[in-house]
């Protein structure tokens, strides 16, 4: 009874958020920046925010997460953070030698109103930025949006700073993924590669936050998209945005700034959405879907058909980030499960709410933004108990109190490994996810079965 104070009766709240289903912008911005090669994220504000963001990402990935901070004290908070930022730039290049410093603002520097554009220009004027190096920033006030918004803002800033249209198109397709795991970044690349498509994808955190152990510490691991490739994305012949809430602003910017026509798709989670992704790639690249991809698809469909009886009709609740949630909702629908609740603290917008409802029907309760928190989700679940919950690690308290299984698919995951190594996107990711779900239900059935109904073959 770890959440024993959560009553079943739902009363309206306007001011108090309890057990949030989101966190703040900079952590998402930091994650996006880590997907750029030799880029050091920098947090402009008090050091506490940076410490929290680094700790959160470190716990989630069990990997070194490097980021510097302007370390404001009261003086900077009152008089502005310019001198801290200028000093930071100097020290960072002297000690850590990144190619790019990707600054994210914090609530504090936003409230003071530090003008980072002007500060960076000043640093440039004072020759504090070595030749060939870049200092860029994204505005990420946490009193707006969530970590997903921060990711979206940093991704836009990356487009803004690096993508250039030279007038000569190349034959690459640019892929912009939403806030997903490095394993999912790899899976999306894998699909493009299998299809023989020339692509530029960013950010790409694979081989950065799931780097192998080789006896050395690499300040800048081998992964991450290079500045040069991002520059070329401005000339790419087409772009695909995977996910809407976390990618839309960047996709739009790439279109307006570089006139790269962009298809906005959902994250390829499950059969339907992956089909759409593969089909879109096929059409715009003018290729045939290779047998290997058909095989991957076939295996997922095969397993679903073989074991559908264990998932069909099962009731689930979903918590997480909007783009992933949409994919999961579609996945559940494909598998014949019934989604009771969809909750995200990210203010995803009325359009998102509507799309989820259209997909799942009126029977599903969808809530995003203010007071869409785990307290509320738990109350909903007490009133209509699901068989399974998808969410982040904090959901384990609800899962325990309600005695139902939890599949960890949202940020942050502090207590299980796997999410950064095994995907949930693409057909292979779909198979992995389906097997997790099957395991959860079959383990439960085995646990609860009376002895005469305990089955060997399932």
């Amino acid at each position: 009874m770890l959440l024993r104070h959560t009553p079943k009766e739902i009363s309206e709240r306007k001011a108090l958020t309890i057990n949030p289903a989101k966190t703040c912008q900079p952590v998402g911005a930091m994650y996006a920046a880590l997907g750029i090669h030799r880029c050091l994220p920098h947090s402009h504000g008090s050091q506490g925010c940076c410490a929290y963001h680094r700790s959160a990402l470190t716990r989630h990935y069990a990997e070194p997460i490097m980021a510097s901070t302007s370390s404001f004290t009261e003086g900077a908070s009152v008089f502005g953070g310019q001198s801290n930022m200028l000093e930071s730039i100097q020290n960072i290049f002297a000690l850590y030698d990144p190619d790019i410093i990707a600054v994210n603002t914090t609530c504090l520097s936003e409230v003071i109103g530090d003008d980072l554009k002007q500060i960076i220009n000043r640093a440039m004027g004072d020759n504090k930025i070595p030749p060939g190096k870049t200092v860029m920033y994204a505005s990420t006030p946490s009193f707006k949006g969530s970590h997903v918004t921060g990711y979206a803002n940093m991704l836009s800033a990356i487009v803004q700073n690096f993508a250039v249209a030279t007038g000569t198109r190349n034959d690459a397709i640019t892929i912009l993924p939403s806030f997903i795991e490095p394993s999912d970044m790899s899976e999306i690349k894998h699909i493009a590669e299998e299809m023989g498509i020339k692509y530029i994808m960013y950010p790409d955190t694979s081989d950065v936050v799931n780097a192998p152990m080789d006896g050395k510490f690499h300040m800048y691991p081998k992964g991450g998209t290079t500045k040069e490739l991002i520059r070329q994305s401005g000339d790419s012949r087409r772009a695909i945005a995977l996910g809407r809430v976390g990618v839309f602003p960047a996709a739009q910017l790439l279109d307006t700034k570089c006139k790269v026509k962009t298809d906005i798709l959902d994250l390829p989670i499950g059969i339907t959405a992956t089909d759409t992704f593969v089909d879109t790639l096929r059409k715009i690249a003018g290729v045939t879907v290779p047998e290997s991809i058909n095989d991957e698809r076939g295996r997922l469909v095969d397993v679903l058909c073989d074991k559908a009886q264990y998932v069909y009709g099962k009731k689930v609740s979903l918590m997480g980030d909007p783009d992933t949630l949409f994919g999961l909702a579609q996945f559940c629908k494909d598998a014949g499960m019934q989604v009771l609740h969809v909750v995200t603290g990210t203010p995803a917008g009325a359009k998102w709410d509507r799309r989820v409802k259209e997909l799942l029907g009126d029977g599903t309760i969808v809530k995003s933004g203010a007071q869409a928190d785990l307290f509320y989700l738990h109350q909903l679940m007490q009133n209509d108990k699901p068989d399974l919950l998808f969410g982040n690690t904090y959901c384990k308290y609800i899962a325990r109190d309600m005695d139902i299984p939890l599949i960890r698919t949202a940020f942050p995951i502090y207590d299980r490994m796997g999410h950064s190594y095994f995907p949930i996107t693409g057909y292979r990711g779909g198979l992995h996810l389906l097997i997790k779900v099957l395991d959860a239900f079959m383990d439960r059935q085995d646990r609860d079965a009376p002895e005469e109904k305990f089955e060997l073959v399932m």
């Binding site: 959440l3 009363s11 958020t17 716990r59 100097q90 020290n91 609530c107 409230v111 946490s142 050395k216």
Partner: protein, 546 residues
Amino acid sequence: MLPVQELSSVEDFKANILEAYPPKIAKKRARQIIVNKVENTEDVPVIMANTRTIPGIITMRGCAYAGCKGVVLGPTRDILQITHGPIGCGFYSWLTRRNQTRPTSDQDENYMTYAMSTDLQEDEIIFGGEKKLRAAVEEAVALFHPKAIGIFATCPVGLIGDDVHAVARAMEEKYPDINIFAFSCEGYKGVSQSAGHHVANNKVFTDVVGQDDTFSKPGEFKFNILGEYNIGGDAFEIERIVEDCGLTLHSTFSGNSTYQEFSSAHNVDLNVVMCHRSINYLAEMMDKKYGIPWFKVNFVGAEGTSKSLRKIAQFYQNDDLAKKTEAVIEREMVEVAKVRDDVKSRCEGKTAVLYVGGSRAHHYQDLLREIGVVTISAGYEFAHRDDYEGRKVMPSITVDADSRNIEELSVEADPARYKPRISAEERAKRESEGFEFADYHGMMPDMEDSTLIIDDCNHYELEELLDRFHPDLVCAGVKEKYVVQKRGIPMKQLHSYDYMGPFAGYKGAINFYKEIDRLLNCNAFKFTKAPWDTEPELSATYSYND
């Protein structure tokens, strides 16, 4: 004891480190990186501490909010805590410090698993957030009916000028049964978590301790432990031991603690202090106001635990208590000695470096020493000079602008409730016999000559240190963990214990010995290099067809 590094190599290392810095920073770091030298009088070199973090540096530090809400108040189970600010600060301080708690019954309040925030939005940042905070308190009261509510201010709240204290007062008027108090613990205060500890101490002292004159736990020898946060169940183990000795642990500030224990904490005879840095203010203030003496203890390490128990027993001057205490020590040490000797045979002579919060880098050296592991460098994230050099330097610590904005309460003896637990003469007499009250010697006197003491060690310095001295073990926090482990060096988190524990007391010592044994001797890290990486390159390729 093994010799530590050669003095020349340590000096040389320091010089190398400083070379990479711009001159102004080098000058500052030179005063924060100290080669230890303990004179016979325990006069140690002066270290610069509790000064600003260098902007742009990848630091191990956090903020005042983390020190106040996360460290000191976080582990209290029935004080409902509302973070006033945007969502992040409250989110990150939610359960991540793993302070364990065990309510006495299912009916008892336990808000540990709840994170509450006003989740300030842009409009409130522009027009002020007090109204939302008031509404949030009302909603919290309606849902939870708590005994007490703590409100925590974050950076943006301080800047927009919300008066959290006024809101707390107004809400307390509305709900007179609930103790509602607020903390000005904005993250930019001070230079690290330390400022937040001080803010927390002050408020807990003025608004919580002393509220309840009637409650007292049964027992003859009642005391509080300050600065024990029950990470991994440490406080449970300490409680087990002291109860066996015949002592009554009235309250633990603030591991597994309740509002009632805090509000009546002045009804005891003694305070003992574990983490000096985070809570020495409260010990000092309770001494002045209520006449409760305090001394420093250490329940980390089997020897430290025995020593601390004996000192507590000695304080009460009761034969029966002393006898019982000795019996407990004897009983517990049987198993401890067995495991210790076994582990020591495999760990003796290994080296460690420790960079942790504010006391653990000192305490854990005892445990490591017990199994023969030598600490070659240590330092703190948020300490002050007294944590390194001892309390005797406190009068000579200069107050700079960053410390000045943390209120220093002036405390006087309570006219009605001041009651010296031992008379001034008795105290003087005992002190003359060598019993120390209100003192702490600091970490440096306990460390070997020519070890490196580094205050506010940063990522770059840690890297250099690993390159130069190749320690066998590193103890630090989560942000450092994988930086170290990627190199194939095992790293033990001493903030979270890597989700193990307890490490305090006797059972804790046994756990810790075994854990260090595992880290130093398990196979996993030996796989870091593949065989083809360690063998010389083949000079020719072999082909079946040749």
